[in-house]
Symmetry: C2
Subunit: 159 residues, 2 copies
């Protein structure tokens, strides 16, 4: 969507897939979440995860990486069609983040983002608030990760 008025419930953006390698899992975890099952294969195997597992925050960061790439790609396509670029506003936060399945070394998650609520804001007439149901599904088709994100999206200026 370019403007808030374009967002429709059910609009779905496929964000692509990402394979979590052991090296990436350890690199992220050593910086931000150095629990044994995130930095050591053997500790992972002995843990409830059953293998070297990505930090849940790593999974969230990869979702962010893919959605930013997707939005930047769409903005670029819009510009090449001669459209004026529209900046997505800030996110005030999100709800109900769920780590449903472990993400182990070698697992591939496929991410998507679907509009699940739209709300005009009386307090900020130049913005609307859009909620997105964001998901990461693994190579076995299991929902491994989900959350409800939100972002301020600019209203279309009056013609």
């Amino acid at each position: 969507m370019a403007y808030f008025e374009d967002a429709k419930i059910g609009d779905r953006l496929e964000l692509g897939s990402f394979t979590f390698t052991a090296e990436q899992i350890k690199k992220f975890a050593l910086q931000f979440d150095p629990q044994p099952f995130h930095i050591d294969e053997e500790a992972g195997r002995r843990s409830q995860f059953g293998g070297l597992a990505a930090s849940g925050w790593h999974v969230a960061a990869i979702y962010m990486k893919l959605i930013v790439a997707s939005l930047q790609r769409r903005a670029q396509e819009g510009i090449s069609r001669g459209e004026k670029p529209v900046a997505v506003g800030p996110s005030p936060g999100f709800r109900e983040l769920k780590w449903l399945k472990p993400v182990l070394a070698g697992d591939t998650l496929t991410f998507a983002s679907e509009v699940c609520a739209v709300r005009a804001l009386e307090s900020r007439p130049q913005w609307g608030l859009v909620n997105f149901y964001n998901t990461g599904v693994n190579q076995r088709g299991e929902l491994a990760f989900s959350f409800i994100g939100s972002a301020f999206i600019p209203r279309r200026p009056a013609a």
Copy 2:
């Protein structure tokens, strides 16, 4: 806390402070959230944030870094008192993450984690679920970041 039975509403863990440098902000953002206001000072100044702003996921990852360090320190202290180490269980996810104020280059957040709910689990008698209200307050005393986390904590084995 070592076991679920030790967790009391209001128990508070001070996690320490972290200053977000421009270099760290850009390094995280280039990997995971390369929006202009996270990777370029001038774009940050022109944005609604008014300066180079940390990715919200960077703020969350730093919270994780500090709580893992704090829990590992406490476990080490327990071991040196001769206590048997108790592993905190996995987190099923969290709720109501709020990015309330921008975190700009040079800002210092002080993080804390407070028990806000405890629940025994009929379905998993060896675990309890504990909710934590986690906060990051900036150097002006403003709440910049909060979320309600949850973790499975082992029940104390019967004597």
